[in-house]
Symmetry: C2
Subunit: 174 residues, 2 copies
């Protein structure tokens, strides 16, 4: 599907195709539909990024709280969204041994207790060894800095999801 086909979709079709490019936040996809037509995929990405940037801090934290834990209970119970399932599987988070799983579980709990939102990272560019390392490093940051970093990861995840769904002219950009 190219950008011309995307621009021709009704809001219902647009949501069916792109509703989960920001995890469990179809409102964002549904909002940017108002701004079509998009001249290219970058313009659609920019519209989503701008919408996120314009949200109050609580709204940005709300986006983060809609994300599942990495290697968490939704993965174990099979209730991840298909997109998260693929991404966590790609990073090997569905094939952890007991020690790896409990290590990440402990760091996730510590992170959530500290910040009040889950650890979000674009796992397309991570693997099961780098995740606990990144968790430890990001646990040391301040809340505002970490919120900004996590939102940057949300945008990266969005970009990879969009590019897997929409054919662009710069597919290798990420």
């Amino acid at each position: 599907m190219d950008i011309g086909a995307i621009n021709a979709l009704s809001y219902e079709e647009f949501l069916n195709v792109l509703g989960n490019v920001v995890e469990k936040c179809p409102i964002i996809t549904a909002a940017v539909w108002s701004e079509r037509p998009f001249s290219n995929l970058d313009a659609l990405e920019a519209a989503i990024d701008n919408f996120i940037d314009a949200l109050p801090e609580s709204g940005q934290e709300g986006i983060l709280r809609c994300h599942p834990d990495l290697a968490g209970k939704e993965l174990r119970s099979g209730t991840l969204t298909p997109e998260s399932r693929r991404e966590q599987g790609h990073a090997g988070l569905d094939r952890l041994d007991a020690a790896e799983a409990s290590g990440i579980g402990r760091l996730n709990a510590e992170y959530k207790a500290r910040f009040g939102f889950p650890f979000v990272v674009c796992v397309r560019t991570s693997d099961k060894r780098s995740v606990p390392r990144q968790l430890e490093e990001r646990l040391r940051r301040g809340r505002a800095e970490e919120r900004a970093r996590a939102i940057a990861e949300v945008k990266k995840i969005c970009r990879t999801r969009l590019r897997s769904l929409v054919r662009g002219d710069q597919v290798n950009k990420l």
Copy 2:
């Protein structure tokens, strides 16, 4: 569950209980968790209303676009959220005869073509006879006026859902 118990919930529990008080917009519930503790249920409602009011027009239209049609394909295919299923059933929209169904279907299509979002009404205070009447009346309005009216209905729906969860028959399931 009273407001004290609500205030004590982790963001994950808060989302599990209240994540769909605005249809398919858990980001809103997740955002207002930042503002706890709430002195009472009215304060929680006000936090949600204020979050919605602060969104840009596109974001408010995004909320509307996350709503299903009344008596639409999600009702027929059994894919409504449990909350919407109960509400549409309460209004008798799951028991329409062929003429009633095609009448509402035609009006829904006309409404969506005109406004770019679906007809949203708090069906707790409607029934299958008043829905087509309200659709016809609201179809005549301007876009800004109708957006505001639809968002007022979203808030009414949110209020009924909140009150059934915090005080109603679901309390004992938690």
